[in-house]
């Protein structure tokens, strides 16, 4: 497995995160190739969301290192990691309820702007032209996920499936190189999942690397180039969907010891 290192977008080495005595993430090592679709699966509580939270800087790891585009980002604050090009969504959406759909996406465009308190408060021409530009960019992101006609609705009026898409559009506003989706297909109807699959392929073709944490097996297996399996914080398998499907470790983790 001699992969060229400059083709690796995200490199995680021996990453651990403990909460008290619980090893939520336990010495996980993996590499994510540029412009690929890679998934992380595992039973409930396997540490998948914690993994995203550590990589995106929400938690700082207890051990291990994270490299993004060859640069170490271990322990770097979340807002700086975001500016470096890691966008993410949340399992529980975490949308901004006091803002409209479009404004939510405009917050995603935050790192692309530079107007500060005075420029904004005095409504200087620079701030106003930036506002117009960001509004346009956010609208493009909404079109990408097919929610442009919802732009001015409050978040509370959207059904769950569309809220997840707002989360994706908001992350796209950050112009990420790596997009981490936390259970994007959770609680969604079949035709919505189909749309999501098409969206993810489109994003990959635009050069975005997509990392998916998911429970929905058919979705993951049809979409991913590689799959990482986590169980009780440890990585127990990695490979193509077919390799993972037949791995004894994985069957054990999902079905119990007897198999």
């Amino acid at each position: 497995m001699a992969e060229r290192t400059d083709d690796i977008l995200l490199h995680v080495r021996g990453l651990s995160k403990h909460f008290g005595g619980i090893k939520a993430v336990d010495e996980v090592t993996c590499a994510i190739k540029n412009r690929s679709i890679i998934s992380m699966i595992g039973p409930n509580g396997a540490g998948k969301s914690t993994f995203i939270n550590v990589v995106s800087g929400i938690y700082s790891p207890d051990a291990g290192k994270v490299y993004f585009q060859g640069e170490e980002i271990t322990g770097v604050p979340a807002y700086e990691i975001a500016a470096k090009g890691i966008g993410r969504t949340f399992q529980l959406e975490e949308l901004f309820g006091s803002l409209s759909v479009l404004e939510n996406v405009m917050v995603g465009c935050h790192t692309g702007g530079r107007s500060d308190v005075l420029a904004c408060g005095l409504s200087l021409p620079s701030a106003r032209s930036e506002e117009r530009r960001v509004r346009g960019e956010a609208m493009e992101c909404l079109k990408e996920v097919g929610l442009e006609q919802r732009a001015h609705d409050p978040i509370s009026r959207l059904p769950l499936g569309e809220r997840k898409l707002v989360g994706v559009a908001r992350a796209l506003g950050m112009k990420p190189r790596l997009l981490m989706l936390d259970e994007p297909a959770g609680g969604r109807a079949a035709h919505e999942v189909e749309k999501l699959v098409r969206l993810i392929y489109t994003l990959r073709d635009q050069g975005i690397t997509v990392f998916i944490v998911e429970h929905n097996m058919p979705f993951v297996m049809s979409l991913s180039e590689r799959v990482i399996v986590l169980d009780e914080g440890r990585k127990i398998a990695e490979g193509t969907p077919d390799e993972v499907r037949t791995s004894e470790e994985v069957i054990k983790a999902y079905l119990g010891e007897e198999v």
Binding site: I58, A78, Y79, E80, L95, V107, H110, G121, E130, V134
Partner: protein, 329 residues
């Protein structure tokens, strides 16, 4: 954009009314409206901190008082003319709020409220104890009026206009701010701090910026108030002012920017009405009567319109648009 022409019309009406009042109303109305501008302007910033940025800071009267003291002392001692002193006061308060805010804003909710309330008491007591510099508890006397060039601001009408320029200036600034990149960032970390951080927003730094901004605004208003009264004393910016500001924010509603100003208007005129109607009946009880009335009003507001008057108005307008159809997109 949405509703912009209507907003401009509202501003125009508001400014026309404010400008016209001294021409059509007596000095009594001008005097009360001057206080509405000063305390309304102060409540604007505090309402923004509490309700929109989610920082439960109670130190707002402190910035108001410190600004007044710094500019007042500089003017009394002849170090800086009042207008320059007001700017120095604002810079001073900006620096102090930075030094204090940086560690304090790590606290959240009631813990932040406790710490800032402590700050309020400490500054009030300190100002009372610095006898030679501040005039102690009796207050700082002999403050000259504000003057710019040859123009000396002496009458109530002068201060009325100055206060309203400052108050509406703050309102305009905050409206622009909240409708911009920074404003969305502020609302976003109040809704979900973890998501805001993941969107590239440096939450602690932004909190500090808002904290300093509103402190500086309070300081400038405090300076104008000091030169208007030509006097200041520690009890002016103590616990009673804090209660009054909170009353204004609750009655007016802090979820909208204009709410606290509306609250100030209602509180000031309601108090005048109470004094006029009960003054003869209970001449020695005015403070207690105030407390009783405003206590009751707060309870009624919190039960029946938790968003305050402005929240109620907004809902009313929203339903109006639903019934009559939206024409402004």
């Amino acid at each position: 954009m949405n509703g912009r022409p209507r907003q401009k019309l509202l501003w125009l009406i508001l400014i026309t009314v404010i400008v016209a009042i001294p021409f059509v109303a007596g000095s009594y109305v001008v005097g009360v409206m001057c206080f509405v501008a000063i305390f309304g302007g102060l409540a604007l910033g505090m309402g923004l901190l509490l309700e929109q940025a989610g920082m439960f800071s109670l130190a707002h009267p402190t910035w108001f008082g410190l600004g007044g003291y710094v500019s007042g002392i500089l003017a009394v001692r002849g170090i800086a003319p009042p207008w320059l002193g007001s700017i120095f006061g604002a810079v001073f308060v900006g620096i102090i709020s930075y030094i204090i805010g940086a560690p304090l804003l790590r606290l959240k909710g009631y813990y932040l409220a406790c710490a800032t309330f402590g700050l309020l008491l400490i500054v009030e007591i300190t100002m009372g104890q610095l006898g030679t510099l501040t005039g102690g508890n009796e207050g700082l006397m002999g403050i000259p009026p504000l003057s710019v060039g040859g123009l000396v601001l002496e009458t109530d009408v002068h201060y009325y206009y100055l206060s309203w320029v400052l108050c509406l200036g703050c309102l305009w600034f905050l409206y622009n701010l909240m409708d911009s990149r920074m404003g969305r960032a502020i609302k976003s970390f109040n809704d979900s701090e973890v998501a805001a951080r993941s969107m590239g927003i440096n939450v602690p730094w932004y909190k500090l910026k808002v904290f300093i901004l509103t402190a500086v605004m309070a300081s400038m208003i405090g300076s104008v108030y000091t030169f208007y009264l030509r006097f200041t004393q520690p009890s002016i910016f103590g616990f009673p002012l804090l209660v009054e500001l909170v009353t204004m924010i609750i009655i007016g509603g802090g979820k909208t920017l204009y709410g606290p100003l509306l609250g100030a208007f209602v509180v000031m005129w309601l108090r005048e009405a109470i004094h006029l109607s009960l003054g003869g009946l209970l001449p020695r009880m005015s403070a207690q009567v105030d407390a009783l009335f405003f206590g009751l009003i707060i309870i009624v507001i919190l039960i029946f319109m938790p968003g305050g008057l402005s929240g109620w108005i907004d809902r009313f307008l929203y339903f109006g648009r639903q019934v009559f159809g939206r024409t402004d997109g």
